[in-house]
């Protein structure tokens, strides 16, 4: 529907919808194993041994091949922030905490939401990764499972 919102100058308002069919390509396994096996799969470079989660099918150090490895589900928060606003596609209860976590053995950080009281989150907090079926509207589209972090009480 095109609407005229002003005539001096002539200003029209219209919506534009785009429907995408996107491929998860070589990281498909991450999402399928998350949903079907309850596992977090990272990749490890066969040459230099670096471990990547989120997974990198090609090693960024040497462009060599990587192979899939199951990641442990415990880690440490290296960066976080408490969000008081969220993007349009998100319908979470505000505020919520977003954190980048170093899972044990990983050379990269995995972003995720930290469940629970935001005031208890600190740099260096230990967390455990959990998997669940997402609430309607809290995760994009067709992913059947969601992962999130839970603080490990001292």
């Amino acid at each position: 529907m095109t609407k005229i919102s002003r005539t001096d100058p002539l200003t029209i308002t219209k919506d534009y919808r785009i429907t995408y069919q996107s491929t998860l390509g070589e990281v498909s396994r991450f999402f399928l194993d998350l949903a079907n096996e309850g596992k977090i799969m990272g990749t490890r470079c066969e040459k230099c041994g670096k471990t990547y989660i989120p997974p990198f099918p090609d090693c960024p150090e040497c462009l060599g091949k990587t192979s899939w490895v199951e990641m442990p589900k415990n880690g440490v928060i290296e960066a976080f922030t408490i969000c008081y606003t969220q993007p349009r596609h998100f319908k979470r209860k505000l505020p919520y905490t977003v954190a980048y976590v170093r899972l044990e053995g990983a050379n990269t950080l995995l972003p995720g939401i930290v469940d629970g009281d935001p005031s208890k989150v600190e740099q260096g907090s230990k967390v455990e990764l959990k998997i669940r079926v997402p609430e309607r509207g809290t995760r994009w589209g067709v992913y059947e499972a969601d992962y999130y972090f839970e603080l490990i009480e001292r």
Binding site: A79, I82, H89, G112
Partner: protein
């Protein structure tokens, strides 16, 4: 002196919404001003230009693709060459760097017009945040976890405070300084006298940052006329030379660590390249002023450190000491930066060059207002950034 000079410049008004002018009209406005300031007719200037470099991010904001071709055509520059660059907030600076490359290569282009503009207001603020959020990883950051660009700034501030002891007040002082400085810039809308407490009581967004820690979105256009060394004197007695240019890139957050997230590695790399070319070893002493990309308060603090104005973690102290106020040791964003003009993505990178051009020629008090002039400024730095620093560009301009 460098092989490439800036000989002319023009700006439009930067506003939350320039509904009064189409994109073509905004660029024409800036071009007309450039011609007028150069004492030329539009037609004469147009005939002198060999090539245009288009700088805009509009594709999504305006739904017109290849908009640069439309603008180039509208300004009567066909059949001359044109190229378009894009790098979110660093676009304008990339365009200047590309103009530099085409001139310094000594092929066929001696006079280049950098044509930059942005009209973010055609979409709602919420929609524009969505567009900017897609600069992150969609499958692991944006869609599943809702990480957006300001989210990353929040995390950077969080880490900067923890690691270096930077205080919330020091961070807020950036917004206070730049909004106050914007009152000296007749081209921008967001100048305002504010206090630290105003920032600290504004709506929380991404801890520890709040609404007034972020620059608003805006529309605007800016034009720069660049020439080779040989042609420069034809246009002006005081060309401003680009004596250094540098560019760097940085990883996505998941490939970084708590130690390097509050540091702008790309900016450091870009600055090193530019300083090397310009023969600068002590920026604080050798530079007279700087324009950095203050899309958020914390970003300017991190820029101070990565540009070598102070040591690692000392950015908070630098703003607190007043060193970056006009009259201080190295005035930064003396015309208001992004807090003053809004983040009209591509146009800001060129606007920085326009204002620095006027600054170094001693015209800032005339073209802007007297409070914007840095006394005896001869060498300046301009720096524009993409997102949270995935691309950084630095230029050194000197008389």
């Amino acid at each position: 002196m460098g092989k490439v000079a800036i000989v002319g410049a023009g700006l439009t008004r930067f506003s939350a919404s320039r509904y009064d002018a189409s994109q073509e009209e905004m660029v024409a406005e800036a071009m007309r001003q450039a011609a007028e300031n150069m004492g030329m007719t539009w037609n004469d200037l147009r005939n002198e230009v060999d090539m245009g470099v288009g700088a805009y991010c509009s594709d999504f904001f305006n739904q017109q693709l290849k908009f640069g071709a439309t603008i180039h055509d509208y300004l009567g520059l066909c059949p001359k060459s044109n190229i378009r660059v894009e790098a979110v907030g660093a676009t304008g600076a990339q365009a200047i760097r590309t103009g530099y490359a085409f001139i310094a290569a000594s092929t066929l282009y001696d006079v280049i017009a950098v044509l930059s503009w942005e009209k973010m207001s055609e979409v709602s603020y919420e929609q524009s945040l969505d567009f900017l959020g897609r600069n992150l990883d969609l499958d692991f950051e944006y869609y599943p976890v809702g990480v957006t660009l300001p989210t990353v700034h929040g995390m950077m501030a969080q880490l900067h405070m923890k690691k270096f002891g930077t205080s919330r007040e020091q961070i807020a002082k950036i917004a206070v300084k730049n909004r106050k400085n914007a009152l000296n810039n007749p081209f921008v809308d967001f100048g305002k006298k504010m206090a630290v407490k105003d920032i600290l009581i504004s709506k929380p967004l991404f801890s520890p940052l709040r609404e007034l820690d972020f620059a608003p979105a805006s529309d605007g256009a800016a034009v720069l006329i660049m020439t080779s060394e040989d042609k420069a004197k034809k246009f002006t007695d005081t060309p401003i030379w680009i004596s250094g240019t540098g560019c760097g890139t940085d990883n996505f957050i998941y490939r970084r660590t708590a130690d390097d997230i509050p540091i702008l590695a790309s900016t450091r790399v870009a600055a090193e390249q530019a300083y090397k070319m310009a023969g600068i070893s002590n920026p604080m002493k050798e530079l007279d002023c700087a324009e950095v990309y203050d899309m958020s308060t914390i970003y300017e603090i991190m820029a101070y450190e990565s540009l070598g104005f102070c040591g690692k973690g000392e950015g908070g102290k630098l703003i607190e000491d007043g060193a970056t106020e006009n009259g201080g040791e190295l005035p930064v964003n003396v015309a208001g930066g992004c807090f003053g003009a809004g983040t009209a993505l591509a146009a800001i990178g060129v606007k920085q060059a326009v204002e620095m051009f006027w600054q170094l020629r001693g015209e800032a008090d005339k073209r802007l207002k007297s409070g914007a002039q840095v006394q005896d400024a001869e060498k300046g730095l301009i720096n524009a950034e993409s997102g949270y620093g995935v691309k950084s560009v630095v230029h050194i301009l000197e008389k």
